[in-house]
């Protein structure tokens, strides 16, 4: 006999339990091991910056002409440089620059570039043309030339290097953002947002910007390494962070003259840059995934 179907049989499977967005973010973000690596390295960097004087075994500026270019030993774990300064201490002191240049210069460039690209892409027309032609002309000057000009104008020092690099790195963000906005703007949901009476400001920041993030985050994480290395170029040209101060980039460029005799002079700060840049990249990757709503609620 056929069984009569009851209303209760037709009930829907219970929906998966809701998780808070923060929990979801954490689960996606920390779901990949490399991302954890990235976060750990960046945390270590931050700790190092905060506790620099406590962590460094020697003063990074004390020279010792009797003990120059010493190989790694128990007294000097990573050896000494051309003036007999302890390399480990200099690496630790240099972490400050790596963090500031990485985060602040790139953060500033990304924010400014994003805003310019957003305005240019959204409004288009004359405003867009003017902004983008200025960006084009900035981009036609080699980035390092541009940074050199600004740095020469402002003078050296960490603060001015951050400003110079921050301005010099704007162009790629503006370009990328403008292109993103032009394509996102075509979507039906933007037309719908207009049709519900949303203002331009609301459409730009609530509807368009969040849809443009993924490629921007990728670009930012790549730019961090670029910025740290550019600091080295500026230092090499004598307008970066002033010589006695420890900066990884300038340490690489100072050490290259002794590459055959004491390779650790360049290799150690080079490795430090590599590790930090990789960490930024991985953390950025994780951030991109965790911000992707397609993965939200599914993990």
């Amino acid at each position: 006999m056929e069984k009569e179907i009851q209303e209760s049989d037709l009930e829907f499977d219970e929906a998966p339990r809701r998780v808070s967005s923060w929990k979801r973010f954490r689960r996606v973000f920390f779901g990949r091991k490399v991302v954890i690596y990235g976060v750990v390295v960046i945390s270590l960097l931050v700790i190092t910056v905060i506790f620099t004087p406590l962590l460094a075994p020697y003063d990074p500026y004390t020279t010792n002409v009797r003990n120059i270019l010493a190989p790694p030993s128990t007294a000097h774990w990573l050896g000494t440089d051309t003036l007999g300064r302890d390399i480990l201490s200099r690496i630790i002191y240099g972490s400050r620059n790596a963090l500031f240049i990485g985060l602040i210069a790139v953060g500033f460039a990304a924010t400014a570039g994003m805003l310019l690209g957003l305005i240019a892409g959204y409004f288009g027309g004359i405003i867009g043309a003017v902004i983008m032609r200025i960006i084009d002309s900035i981009q036609s000057i080699p980035m390092i030339m541009f940074a050199v000009t600004i740095a020469a104008f402002l003078g050296g020092g960490l603060q001015n290097v951050v400003i110079a690099l921050g301005i010099a790195l704007i162009a790629p963000y503006a370009r990328l953002m403008c292109g993103q906005v032009l394509s996102v703007k075509q979507n039906d949901y933007i037309l719908r947002a207009k049709a519900i009476g949303a203002s331009d400001f609301r459409i730009m920041f609530k509807h368009i910007v969040p849809n443009c993030f993924p490629p921007l985050i990728v670009l930012m994480t790549m730019q961090v390494g670029h910025a740290i290395l550019s600091e080295a170029s500026l230092s090499f040209l004598g307008i970066g962070i002033k010589p006695p101060a420890a900066a990884w980039g300038s340490m690489v460029s100072e050490g290259y003259q002794y590459l055959l005799r004491s390779p650790q002079l360049s290799i150690v700060p080079g490795l430090a840059i590599m590790i930090v840049v990789f960490a930024y990249n991985m953390a950025g990757d994780g951030l991109r995934d965790a911000l992707d709503p397609k993965l939200r609620g599914t993990l």
């Binding site: 829907f12 929906a15 809701r18 967005s21 979507n187 039906d188 949901y189 037309l191 719908r192 947002a193 207009k194 049709a195 519900i196 009476g197 949303a198 203002s199 331009d200 609301r202 609530k206 509807h207 969040p210 849809n211 709503p293 397609k294 939200r296 609620g297």
Partner: protein, 333 residues
């Protein structure tokens, strides 16, 4: 009944590489309060453009509304400053719109709650938590099970039919006077279409909202609309009460359309008669009747004279056709 929306001689044109496209070429129609009106025509006849023009949502450039009036509650919407506060208060607040593609009409990075709430926050000044409460109610009203637990989902977690339900909930969230549904069921499968149309009819009745259904599907309007406007090449060629248009179509185009849909109340085995030819190219439109090349009833006058204006043939039944003006109706039907 009072007139809610009155569109007079609306002309919208697009400047394209191929030339000037007269997408909407002088259409006039009106919508009364709490009425369901159907706007029917094939792809590219200007249905959607006319509706976007009403809302001032035509992308300029390349589009431009060159002539006409859109009187909504007596106020000409086309005279309001572009994207100003006044028109924005009307969009969504007084006239809401449901779009054709539920898959792309929702923002992928915003939750359903944020998207339904947004409108109420803009127009009614509700706080986030008030708007959320109302959103859950609306979501339940449009028939989404377990609304409370689905409200924080993202659009990709909803099926096409469910998204269109969300769009309906959104459309009605601010209690608008007029809801424009632009091909609301085209992207959905047939069973979902029927369910959603019922839902939409139900909802507009409950909210006392007038509804304009824009569609190419005569079946859709036959069941729900009280009056129909048939569009061809950017113009209204016939208008009247739904039952008059279905029982006694006047314009050769309408007749053609009805001949190519199967009917239940007919002898079996009848062949469907397609309309021969293609819709005209809107760039190079001759001044005469655009349906002329495809018209089986054409007379000399059709070729020589410009497009005839809509004229009343029967009570509340208008047509733009010389055949009727000459009274040679016998050849038709």
């Amino acid at each position: 009944m009072t007139v809610l929306l009155e569109v007079k001689n609306l002309k919208t044109q697009f400047n394209t590489e191929a030339g000037l496209v007269k997408a909407v070429d002088g259409i006039s129609y009106e919508v009364y309060e709490q009425e369901i009106v159907g706007l029917v025509g094939e792809s590219g006849c200007g249905k959607s453009v006319s509706q976007l023009s009403v809302m001032q949502l035509i992308p300029t450039p390349p589009g431009k509304i060159v002539e006409g009036e859109v009187l909504f509650e007596g106020k000409d919407l086309l005279k309001l400053p572009e994207n100003g506060a006044e028109i924005r208060a009307i969009r969504g607040g007084k006239i809401a719109m449901i779009f054709q593609e539920p898959m792309t009409s929702l923002n992928p990075v915003m939750s359903i709650n944020q998207q339904i709430s947004e409108m109420m926050q803009i127009h009614q000044g509700l706080t986030a938590s008030e708007a959320r409460k109302r959103s859950i109610e609306l979501l339940a009203e449009v028939g989404i099970p377990a609304a409370e637990s689905r409200i924080d989902d993202y659009p990709h977690q909803f099926s096409g039919g469910m998204r269109q339900r969300v769009m309906i909930a959104m459309g009605l969230s601010c209690n608008p006077k007029l809801l424009i549904a632009d091909e609301p069921t085209t992207a959905l499968d047939v069973t979902t279409q029927a369910v959603l149309l019922e839902l939409m009819k139900d909802m507009v009745e409950r909210f006392n909202t007038a509804l304009v259904i824009v569609t190419h599907n005569l079946g859709v309007v036959a069941r729900y609309a009280t009056r129909i406007y048939v569009m061809y090449a950017g113009r209204v060629v016939e208008s009247g009460k739904t039952k008059d248009i279905f029982s006694q179509p006047l314009h050769p185009y309408t007749i053609g359309l009805l001949k190519c849909i199967p009917r239940l109340d007919e002898v079996r085995g009848r062949r469907l008669v397609p309309i021969k030819g293609l819709p005209p190219n809107l760039v190079r439109m001759p001044p005469r009747c655009a349906f002329f090349p495809r018209c089986p009833y054409r007379i000399d006058r059709c070729h020589k004279e410009p497009w005839p204006p809509l004229s009343r043939v029967r009570a509340e039944h208008d047509v733009s056709c010389f055949v009727h003006m000459e009274g040679k109706v016998s050849g038709l039907n």
